[in-house]
Amino acid sequence: MRPLSPVLASLANVFRIPISQTPARPMINRICNETVKSPTTGPVTSAIQQSARPFSTTNALLKRKGGGPRGDRRITLIRYFLWHPLTPRPLRFSRTRYLRHWTIHRAWQLYQAQQRREQQLELQRQWQSMQSACEELRTGAGDGGKLFRKSMIKTGVFRDLVPIEYGRLQTESPAKEGWNHEWKRPEKR
C-alpha cells in the first residue's frame, strides 16, 4: 500500500478516519483500468454485486462478460471521487449563517470593485496630465512645437537599446537594500 500523501493524511486526521483501515485513494489511471476492464466489479457498481441474490435482477446485457452499458467514464470518475469517504462533506450553512456569509461576500466584492475603480481613475488622471504636459510643450514652449516633434520621434525606441530601468523586473516598491555594493561580476573561466 502506498503511504498517504500529507494532504490526505491530514484530511483523514480531521475526519477521524483511521489510516490503517482506509485504503489509500487509488491513482486515476488505476481506477480507469479497473472500471474499463471489469465494470461489474468496479468500485461504483460494487453495490450491485453485493446485493446479488439467487434470483438475480441483473439484466442479461449486464451479466454478459465485458458487455453492458459502461456509461461515460468521466461521470464514473466524478462519482467515485465525489462519494469517496476522504472527500470532505459539502459546506452546509444555516439560514442566518448563509446570510452572514453572503453579506461578507458582497462587501468583499464591493470593496474590490471600489479599489479597481480607484486604480482606473488614477491611471486616467496620470494619462491626462501627461497629455496636457505634451500639449503645453507643443504650444507653450515658443519654438513652434519643434521640441515636441523631436520628442515624439520614436525611431529606434526599444529597437537598438532598452531603457536602463527595464533592465530588471519592475516592482511596486524599491528593494530593501538599495544597491548591492559587494556585487562583482562572476569571473569567466
Partner: protein, 420 residues
Amino acid sequence: MAHCERASKPLLQCLQRTCTKGLPSLQVQSARTFQTTALAREEAQTEAKTQSFYKSPDPSLVSSPRLERRMLRQGISPIGSRRRRAALQDSANIPFEQLPYQCFQEARKVLLGDREEKLKQISTMSEKISRLEAVPTEEAGGEQAKKSKLRAMELHLDHLKILADSNDPLVKKKFEDGQGDMSKPIYRFLADRKWREYRRKILVQRITQMNVVPDVLPHCEPVVDTKLYFGRNAIQLGEFVNASASAMVPKLDIQLFDRDEKLVTIAVVDPDVPNVEKDGFDYKMHYLAVNVPISATSTKVDLSKLSTESQEILPWLPPVAQKGSPYHRLSLFILEQKDSKPLDFAAVKAKETDRDNTLLRTLQARYHLKPIGAHLFRTKWDETTEEVMRQIGFPEADMELRRKRVEPLPYKRRNPSTFR
C-alpha cells in the same frame, strides 16, 4: 502562562467592553461572547414560563409535544421544526444586524457606507432631473434632446435605487420569505430576475413549441408573470384541464414588475375548433375583457368578478373538446392598451359580439394592443365533457369525430414482366 492568558481573554474582553461602553446593544453583543448573561436569561425564561408559557405558549418557541398538541387543538400551528423551536428557546434573540461577528460587522460597515454614497447620488440625480425639467425646451436643445436626456437620467435613477438596496441581507431575506413589498423597486427587480430565470423561459418555450405564438398572435414578449387558477388549483403551463374544472371561471394572478399601473385587455382564444366542412380549424374567443387595471401591488384578477357594465365583453365560455378531435389549446393573452388609456366599452361591446369570427390579430390591430403576458392550458375529451356540453348547450354534443379512412392503393404486382 500562555494558557492562562488565552483562557481569560474573552472574560477580560467582555469586562472591558461592558465597562467602557454602556450601550445596551453592545451589552447584548457581549452576552453572546461570554456566558455572563446566561443567568439573567434563565431567570427571565423561568419567570415567563411560570407565569404564562404553559397557559399561552408561543408558537415559535413551543417544543414539548403535549403543548404542541394543545396549540394545534386551539388552531394555531407551531412555526418551524421542533428542533428549531427548541434551539430558539435558549438563544439570546439578537437581531440579525447586531450579531457579534467581527467580519460580519466590518462587512456591514462597508455596505452601509456604500449605501450612504448611493443615497447621496440618488438625491443629486433627482435634483438634476428636477432642474432639467424646469429648464425651458429651447434652452435644453430641443424637445427630442430634452426628452432623451430626461429618460436616460430617470433610468439611471432607477438603477441607483436598486443598487442602494441590493446589498442588504435583510432585503434578501425578506424577498426569499416572499414578504417583499412590491411597491419598492428593489423587490420588483428581484422578483423580475427570479421570474426571468425560470418561469419566463418555460412560458416562452411552451407557447412557441405549441405554436400558440404564430397561430394566435404573431409575436409575444412576455413581461408580466401570469398564473392561472381554476378554483384553488394553479394550472401549469400547457396542462390538460378537466372540462368540469374549466367550466368555472378562472382566476388570474398577474404580477407586474413596473412601477406604474396599467390597463389591460384579457382574451382567451381557442385556435383549435375543428371545422368539418373546411377540413380545418377555426378560432373561438372564450373570454374577452377590457380596461382591467393591474399594478405591481394589486395582482389578483378574478375573471368572474369583473364588472359586466364596464369591463367584461364576452363572458367565460367553458372550453369543450369534441370526442375524437385533437386537443384544444386554450391560450390566454394579457394585452396592454395603448398609453394605459381606457377603451370605449360600449363601442367595443357593440362591435365584438361574435365569438367565432373575432381574431385576436384583428383586435390587436384595431385597438392598438400590445401583448405583455400569456398563459396556456389544454383540454381534450374526457368523461366530464359531455355533462359540460349539455350545460352550455353545445350543438353537436353526441357527435364523435373520426379520421377519414385512407383507401389502400390497389394491388400491384411487384415484379411485372416489363421489369425483366
